[in-house]
């Protein structure tokens, strides 16, 4: 690309710069973990539990170990003596949050391979390493586990029963976390409200389901006592930390790289046992080890998500003004809870959404069951609570005979109240303040995209007269994005004068290499080709956090800016020395520094980098240390608040229950868009995942804790034919919290579709008084409303 792409006013930020990531991916030259082949590499495979809850009596790996082509085999006994479990608290919650939200948290550690009992279908009980994956899987067949079935805790409610067995005996309970918080008078306010509605809402279990399953390759170098780990992960620095901890190595001697990663969406957002085990195996065996998760393993074993039950009461007046809101909810966390109470923490912080509500009280139990561990997936607690809240708002409208849009407008925080103090504490420990935005405008625009409210209602009425059922569904949300604690970046000027940027972010398709280059090119006033970006490599940034929670654009840009500011200072000091002028007379221009108003007085970054070198002949002024390089950490003051209004028109076929989505609209505000095309792609991709969750995808368990949907034949992913016409409108309200006015947008799209579709179907089936208070929305469920009347 050339300078023509630069915006006259500002540069690259705000331009749909083509992705630098595309070329290798399109030519088939990408490097995913599965593509790696190292000399002498051997292949790991895991034996996984067929039972949800079982006591391990014995696991005999002798025959497997003796098989030709097998180089290593281990049971839980072998692993447990060698390696500690993964600390249950991979994410540390800040004291400020624990002080302001009532918490009682007991997170179990996760054994890498247990030797006492198995707690979900898919949990590993043994592993084999062999010359090929084919042989390794043959050898798994020779492992004889002696398992004694235990009573399964098939779901959250049964795990809470008085006589339920304990999943983790040492905890003394099946609840990993109790959370409680309150605003205003809380539930007590319910006594004085004119109208109250109570309902139960169930948000089912589905998952990130990236097209690339997980995978790990590790290689240990004896001479330097160094481990290289390549993992398909969103958090290379967490993997480095956990591998180093488990193996008793300094973090510096473990390098973790996430090469091309084929989607993550949260499912690769924490450390898994295999990350550590494969690293350990490489050191034990002294050969590179590769493990590639297959799809069946992924569905059984990679984190699931959602799976919440909400009991909500909403109190309101005759005008539809919401006066009080309470909820009590359960999160089915599965057997372990690798990101702690993070999902539930998000839910309690996001329930009030874009509305001004004086009184709110919520409590939550994160329940341990014999299901696959539950971890954040795109939205992470917001789709679940949004479903409960936005269904409730529609119920208020129905009760009062008001339009659901009208009830929303009456309760929304007006733009003149920004910034708005919510009266709750965010997960980062900071009191919540919505920083900017215009919520009613977003909803108005969403309705306009569908022709306007009046026209929609008119059409609906006319259709009904013809026996056709058309419905409007709405869903609004706010989303805290760009959460801390920090992100790291290193910025250098290379001796060649090129700008080198490394950030702790770990993209999985978002286009970070492109957008970080956009930031840096503008900060340095260089053509974007002069910026080289490295991500997802602990060897390039000392401390990093990773790409989860819609955070990288906000936090990495902050870190790149801090590091750049420091290098700028040195560049100016050295240039002033060389040009014998005052720093105040200098400006960045034309890939270097020049004297303002004097075109000939200019030094390139290459000149300045040469002058900055240590040694003879340097041209640094006194007190300026050698080198043009800085590593900085951005610690955001708190989150930036993205938000959206969603609206959709659906038609329900009363013969079959089929739901046809005529159009789906999201008006989304993520502040300044760095690359509008990529931003648009993020939101649309998220919407389709949300629609998959609303209508197709389900990780279904039977009442014995067996997963029933273990392949893509049963777990239905949306295809191109399932996608309705999508319209995404970007409303750009700059965030006042950071230099670029940016907010996060990775997750937003996936938040609203489940409730929007449920609301739309209920609206279409108003004549049948339909209420859909659970997901997924099923044709059979819909058809049942017609049979009822």
């Amino acid at each position: 690309m050339d300078d023509g792409v630069r915006r006259e006013t500002g540069g690259y930020i705000g331009q749909s710069v083509p992705r630098r990531e595309d070329k290798n991916l399109l030519l088939g030259q990408a490097n995913f973990v599965a593509d790696m082949q190292l000399p002498g590499m051997v292949h790991a495979a895991f034996a996984r539990s067929p039972l949800p809850h079982a006591k391990i009596l014995s696991v005999d790996v002798t025959a497997a170990r003796a098989m030709e082509g097998v180089v290593f085999a281990a049971s839980g006994d072998d692993v447990m003596v060698a390696l500690p479990p993964i600390n249950g608290m991979q994410v540390v919650t800040p004291q400020g949050w624990r002080d302001r939200v009532d918490t009682d948290i007991l997170i179990p550690d996760q054994p890498l391979i247990p030797n006492d009992k198995l707690r979900y279908v898919g949990e590993a009980y043994a592993l084999v390493v062999a010359d090929s994956r084919y042989i390794a899987e043959d050898a798994l067949e020779l492992i004889e586990p002696d398992l004694e079935p235990l009573q399964p805790l098939a779901d959250a409610e049964s795990a809470l029963a008085d006589d339920a067995p304990l999943l983790h005996e040492h905890l003394g309970r099946n609840v990993a976390a109790f959370l409680h918080t309150k605003k205003g008078a809380g539930g007590a306010a319910m006594e004085n409200v004119p109208h109250r509605i109570s309902r139960r809402f169930v948000h089912h279990r589905y998952a990130a389901m990236p097209m690339e399953c997980r995978g790990v390759v590790a290689d240990y170098d004896t001479r330097t006592d160094t481990l290289n780990v390549w993992s398909s992960t969103q958090v290379v620095h967490w993997v480095r930390r956990e591998v180093a901890t488990a193996l008793g190595m300094p973090e510096e001697r473990v390098r973790c790289i996430a090469p091309d990663v084929g989607g993550g969406f949260g499912g690769k957002g924490h450390v898994y046992p295999e990350d550590i085990l494969v690293a350990w195996l490489a050191r034990e065996i002294g050969r590179p080890v590769k493990w590639i998760e297959d799809r069946h393993e992924h569905i059984l074993n990679a984190a699931h998500s959602r799976d919440n039950i909400y009991d909500v009461e909403i109190g309101f007046d005759d005008e539809g003004k919401i006066l009080a809101l309470t909820s009590s909810f359960l999160v089915d966390s599965g057997a372990y809870t690798p990101v702690g109470a993070g999902i539930a923490g998000n839910s309690i912080a996001h329930m009030l959404g874009p509305y001004h509500i004086e009184n709110y009280e919520t409590d939550c139990r994160v329940v341990l069951t014999n299901r696959t561990p539950n971890a954040p997936y795109r939205g992470a607690g917001r789709p679940e609570v949004g479903f409960a809240m936005e269904r409730s708002v529609d119920l208020v409208a129905n009760y009062l005979g008001l339009d659901p849009a009208e009830v929303r407008f009456r309760n929304m925080i007006p733009p003149e109240d920004m910034p708005y103090e919510v009266g709750l504490t965010y997960r980062d420990g900071v009191p919540m303040v919505y920083d900017s935005g215009d919520y009613p405008k977003a909803l108005r625009r969403a309705l306009e995209e569908l022709g306007g409210l009046e026209a929609i209602r008119k059409r609906q009425k006319e259709a009904l007269a013809e026996g056709r059922y058309i419905g409007l569904g709405l869903g609004c949300y706010v989303e805290g994005t760009g959460v801390g604690p920090f992100e790291g970046a290193t910025v250098k000027i290379d001796p060649t004068g090129k700008i080198m940027v490394a950030a702790g972010a770990c993209p999985q398709g978002q286009g970070h290499e492109t957008i970080f280059a956009q930031f840096a090119a503008d900060m340095w006033q260089v053509p974007i080709e002069d910026v080289y970006v490295t991500v997802a490599d602990t060897g390039h940034v000392s401390q990093g956090y990773g790409t989860i929670a819609s955070r990288s654009t906000v936090t990495a840009s902050g870190a790149i800016k801090l590091a750049t500011d420091e290098v700028h200072q040195k560049v100016f000091a050295i240039a002033a020395n060389m040009l014998e002028t005052a720093e105040a007379d200098l400006e960045l221009r034309d890939a270097g520094v020049g004297v303002k108003g004097v075109p000939d007085m200019h030094l390139s970054y290459r000149d300045i980098a040469t002058a900055a070198k240590p040694g003879w002949g340097h041209q640094r002024p006194e007190g300026v240390v050698a080198g043009l390089e800085s590593t900085s950490y951005y610690e955001p003051p708190t989150v930036t608040w993205s938000y959206a209004a969603n609206a959709s028109l659906v038609e329900v076929d009363v013969e079959t229950g089929q739901i046809r989505i005529e159009k789906y609209v999201e008006v989304h505000d993520a502040g300044v868009l760095v690359n509008p095309k990529l931003a648009d792609g993020q939101v649309k991709g998220g919407l389709v995942q949300g629609l998959g969750g609303a209508l197709l995808e389900e990780l279904a368990y039977d009442d014995q804790g067996q997963l029933l949907t273990g392949s893509f034949a049963d777990y239905l992913m949306p295809t191109a034919s399932d996608v309705p016409p999508l319209s995404v409108v970007h409303q750009e309200t700059p965030s006042p919290l950071n230099a670029f006015g940016v907010k996060g947008l990775g997750e937003g799209g996936a938040i609203a579709p489940p409730v929007v579709i449920a609301n739309a179907v209920c609206d279409a089936l108003r004549p049948f008084r339909a209420e859909l208070n659970s997901t997924p929305v099923r044709w059979s469920q819909v058809a049942a409303f017609f049979d009822r009347d």
């Binding site: 088939g28 990408a30 593509d35 097209m211 095309k677 792609g681 392949s711 309705p724």
Partner: protein, 173 residues
Amino acid sequence: MTDTRKITVTVNGERLTGAAEPRMLLVDFLRDELRRTGTHVGCEHGVCGACTVIIDGDAARSCLMFAVQADGAEISTIEGLAANGEMHPLQKLFSEHHALQCGFCTPGMLMTAMDLVHNSKDHSPEAIRTGMSAALCRCTGYVGIIEAVTEYARQVHGDAAVADRDSGENSHG
């Protein structure tokens, strides 16, 4: 286990020979034996389409076929699309329309689209959407993919071929 056969295939015009057990999947043979890793494995049960390649002229799942079944076959993969250092028009369109994010499904998408555009007679919006449903993408919501494939069909077959026959339908996007 050591019962391997010598398999010869022509991959993107290049004649290649390798050893495969009778049970070895074609996709594993391509990736691990011939080191052509552009073709991906997403599910190993024929649903996701990431492993789609063109075998003797037709798109096929290389995870549902044994390498021994492909002995002597002509196979086209993602690595063969670009020529003389120039991206294939379809590859360029994928980039222009932001039809890829993580890029993991892209090999299967490109080969599915090549088959659809060159082997199928119907290139209406509905046919393209149905045809591209043979492969799963988790990132893009298919928006850019459908745009790119439609544009490619237009380039190959002309405007009329991709016209919406049911004018009442909204264009997707």
